[in-house]
Symmetry: C2
Amino acid sequence: MSAPRIAPIDDIRPSRLVRPSSQKKLDRLLSKAAALIAKNGFNAMTMRELSTALGMSLAGLYHYFASKEDLLFQLQYRTFAALLEQQEKIAEQPGTPEERLERLLTGHLQFYSRHTNELKVCTFELESLGPKPYKLAEEIRRRYYRLMASVVAQVIDGPAAGARETRQSRHASLYIFGMLNWIFMWYDPARHGSVEQIGREMRDMLLHGLKGTKRSG
Amino acid sequence: MSAPRIAPIDDIRPSRLVRPSSQKKLDRLLSKAAALIAKNGFNAMTMRELSTALGMSLAGLYHYFASKEDLLFQLQYRTFAALLEQQEKIAEQPGTPEERLERLLTGHLQFYSRHTNELKVCTFELESLGPKPYKLAEEIRRRYYRLMASVVAQVIDGPAAGARETRQSRHASLYIFGMLNWIFMWYDPARHGSVEQIGREMRDMLLHGLKGTKRSG
DNA sequence: TCGAATTTCGAACGTACGTTCGATATACTA
DNA sequence: TAGTATATCGAACGTACGTTCGAAATTCGA
């Protein structure tokens, strides 16, 4: 049985946009906002800067967003939901725990490749949301964390261990998220190779330790 | 021969404080600023909020800091310098590469324990500095990254390998920094045990892979 | 073509920022 | 004790923020 369905954002926060072209425009607004937030942080980005970058008026933004915070919430909820949906599908595929872990690593890094700015905002700006939107977005993130912890537990203790996580497996999955999320701070495709290559290196290190990374060369 | 000396901040940016009690007050100012920045980020902290938290006037802050950015620079430079000094001493101690790596992990985590807010600011707010202060602080950080990469290279390829790092060792040290720096996002001593315990778990995972973390239990 | 709904915008509002200045208070040394 | 230097502060400045409102433009369907 697959995981329970993730509530679409329209169930939580109805968009009130009517025309299909407006939905597409929202996509473009969020994409540009993600780029600006990823560059200097949510608090440093201003609505004036965003409207200028989009070539639209300042007041026009408020047709799409109830507030600056609402913009951040829509961006994060949509991205977290898409990432979780992808990773739950990936984890459901058959295979050994090691194979599942590798697919999760590569899946995460490929998602990073395609949505670098959005994922960076998700990774670093959850705390910039107020209590209610924070809770909604954090629930999705927590579900992703449990998924990873479950697979890591199976790698450590064998396939039957998924139902009971240990402190080692919980900590190990946090170390893995650290490895994955730190990539925003250094990764440059021109210098560091493909994200698939990075995924294999991480897999080798996780399965065999530092000396195991020689296999990734 | 030990590493070249790290320039004290007074060589780079003379403080102009005369009285010893003013030096101590600067320490307190920076400590409180670190706490407020660590909570919501540099851009969200205001000089008004800081002066209120310190019980001093807004204008009084400008006796100690040329600007808000100068405050951030002093905080980061001092912390990076102290961390680097400690880690270079630790790495100089005799032992196998594995022992050196473990000491670096534990040393970093113990520094994190004692200077949580300052280190969080260093980890996440370097980009909030302008070009010249950024360069000064980043040089220190880069030197620390090279230290770690050198030790990791020796673990992977043996003790003679330190002079030549490979792409694997450079990547692996970035993964390690990811593990270390992500700790700001989740670590709670009440729930997760001591930082020494965390250091042993990281060591076991790095030396033996995920299954190796069972040794840390 | 017309009416209604949606989208867009210029202008303005109230709030708050980082920084400065001149005056005052405090501390230290001779 | 007095003079000098350092530390402190109230008030104000110019700038810029997020958000709103009423009017206008655009789009769509009958």
